[in-house]
Assembly symmetry: C2
């Protein structure tokens, strides 16, 4: 089966390598940047230098393959997915675009193809877990996802490195967080309700509201749902200070005769401060807590993940956790284990028999291990 990976950045590259390594697929990685393709080509993976924003070029690439992985930057994600579906190809996407993916549901169903979106670790595994537990439990009562990608070595003042563009991180700190409490939709400021969370092997982190529930608000009826981002303690306070002072404002100001958006200047300065250097070790910390009832009794499922940078393959934990979730889903689709046409966020995949276990096994084989704890209070 011929697979094309659109976007060969940190995560896209890890996806291409993982798909290429056992002979199940013929893999091609496409990107506009020669630098991004160089290392993959050296490892024997087919590469195509291409402007993926060009519809003609994109169409040519997509039509020449059987399955597509979307790993382009978020701002290009929705349009890329639309074009892939117009070409009638099955797709697994991790571009985490802002648009509602269900706008493309009819298109995918008409084409009769599977389109899994948000196929990373969070969103991704968190959705998969809730979808799975929705079939295990009689009812799910609450869902809380705590997740963060962090540098192993902490540097003052931010103790944070951005695996993607700082402007996208700032967006997480400014967009109001939509959540649900006792069945009622609630919108709170990003960075609100900071709490401390102790995680084995990591220590004390802080968790705060961010707008990360995405499709879960549409697909799940779980009455209480929240997603919180994890950082080393103190980060949220610093970000609130910058935000409340106006450093993240997107309206231009006139400064010394020039018009400038504070957000752009801040992103420029924070890019330097938050730059994850090549080989700089990161980790992914995640905890998903689902409360529900089974056979009339309350039960709590907790999934814990602590994943670290892989020095052997120089693969960041962000690329491992997001990329290997994506490649597991690619294998699900390629092997016909998940074949529901239309847009599927991972909670739908998690509801389908066998799929949750398959993804977890694939992840575990790559050292990305969720530890499940079940308690009956």
């Amino acid at each position: 089966m011929k697979v094309i990976v659109l976007g060969a950045g940190r995560v896209g590259g890890a996806i291409a390598r993982d798909l290429a390594k056992d002979g199940e697929f013929h893999v091609t990685a496409a990107d506009a940047s020669p630098a991004a393709l160089e290392r993959l080509a050296a490892e024997g993976i087919a590469t195509e230098r291409a402007d993926l924003a060009d519809p003609v070029e994109l169409d040519r690439l997509v039509r020449a393959h059987d399955l597509v992985v979307g790993a382009v930057p978020g701002f290009m994600g929705f349009e890329t997915l639309r074009r892939v579906l117009e070409a009638g190809k099955p797709v697994v996407d991790i571009s985490f675009f802002d648009h509602d993916p269900f706008e493309l549901d009819a298109l995918a169903r008409d084409a009769g193809v599977v389109a899994i979106v948000d196929a990373g670790v969070a969103p991704g595994c968190s959705n998969l877990i809730l979808g799975h537990l929705d079939t295990v439990l009689d009812e799910t009562e609450s869902f809380a996802c705590y997740v963060g990608g962090l540098p192993t070595v902490r540097h003052w003042p931010y103790e944070y490195k951005a695996p993607f563009s700082p402007i996208d991180v700032i967006e997480e700190y400014t967009r109001p967080a939509r959540l649900r409490r006792n069945g009622i939709p609630v919108t709170l400021p990003a960075l609100s309700e900071v709490e401390l969370v102790d995680l084995p092997g990591v220590g004390t982190l802080e968790a705060f509201n961010t707008d990360g529930l995405r499709t879960l608000l549409a697909t799940m009826s779980t009455p209480t749902m929240v997603e919180k981002t994890l950082r080393y303690p103190g980060h949220a306070e610093r970000m609130r200070m910058l935000r409340e002072t106006g450093f993240f404002d997107a309206s231009p100001l006139e400064i010394g005769g020039a018009k400038v958006r504070p957000l752009d200047l801040s992103a420029h300065l924070l890019f330097r401060a938050w730059r994850l250097e090549d080989g700089e070790e990161d980790l992914t910390a995640m905890r998903v807590v689902v409360d529900g009832r089974r056979d009339g009794r309350p039960v709590r499922h907790v999934f814990d993940l602590l994943d670290r940078y892989d020095p052997a393959t120089r693969t960041s934990s962000m690329a491992r956790t997001t990329g290997y979730t994506c490649t597991a889903m690619v294998r699900l689709v390629a092997r016909g284990l998940y074949d529901r046409p239309g847009i599927s966020p991972p909670e739908l995949v998690g509801r389908a028999p066998g799929c949750f276990g398959f993804v977890m096994d694939q992840l575990e084989a790559r050292g990305v291990v969720f530890r499940e704890t079940v308690t009956t209070p």
Copy 2:
């Protein structure tokens, strides 16, 4: 005696009012801003609307008076002082300019006039105290000045309001602090060596190095000297974060096609955050610690000041402490109690017989009370 007050801002206005109130002087206040002059005119003080940066206009005003008070913004201060001395008029200055005032010493001496500079609370009273103790003690061994102007009500995140331009405050946080330790000149980053200081009536503040010793480094041989700025705890850390991220950089960056200095954008945003509103209560906290020897025995003199906004006259503590120190020095000069021609920072005034007590009495009469504690360890 006819006195002109150049600059009728918060402090200049308080100076004009204080000098006008007992009939000792004919006072005129000059400023480019009609708004600044309005309230003074309503109180019966003579005002002159004038562009003080215009040498001709300045010369005309200065020559029509017997004594000059310089209360212009720092960036205009040195040139204004030069012109006043060229006109041969005695002057008391609080413009706190960056230049070395002794560059004008020959000019003042040739004119045979007194020119007291840095005639505020700090610099000002701190210098006066050290100059005075230099005559009281056999030797001074160390001098430490802790001083800060703070809002009474603390607002997250800065817990600070700027009584003058934010860009001047930022300058205090970026210019390296020159101090002296055991006779050796030491330069440390601004905002360094943060320590907590407990002051009666205020609580716990933090103190950090700033470049505030100014003339003392040239005039005094005290082997250990430091000046530290007082803020509510946490302020220095926030400022260091902004500085180290580049938000205070003065080199232009190209942002979205426009050239902008991060410093200018930050000053713009912090101007909003740090704006001291009319009637917003402030306080001045100050502690001067001088260790020395007298009659062969170690002795410590501590001067403590806690001054507050005066609601009756709507006069800020910053204007009270700086302005009334200045008016005391004006009276010293007007009455011939201090008559040394040339540039005199207040440590020279403090060395002259009777001057320290005179200034302290004048301040006390206005409710600005330094409490002195002498201990022999």
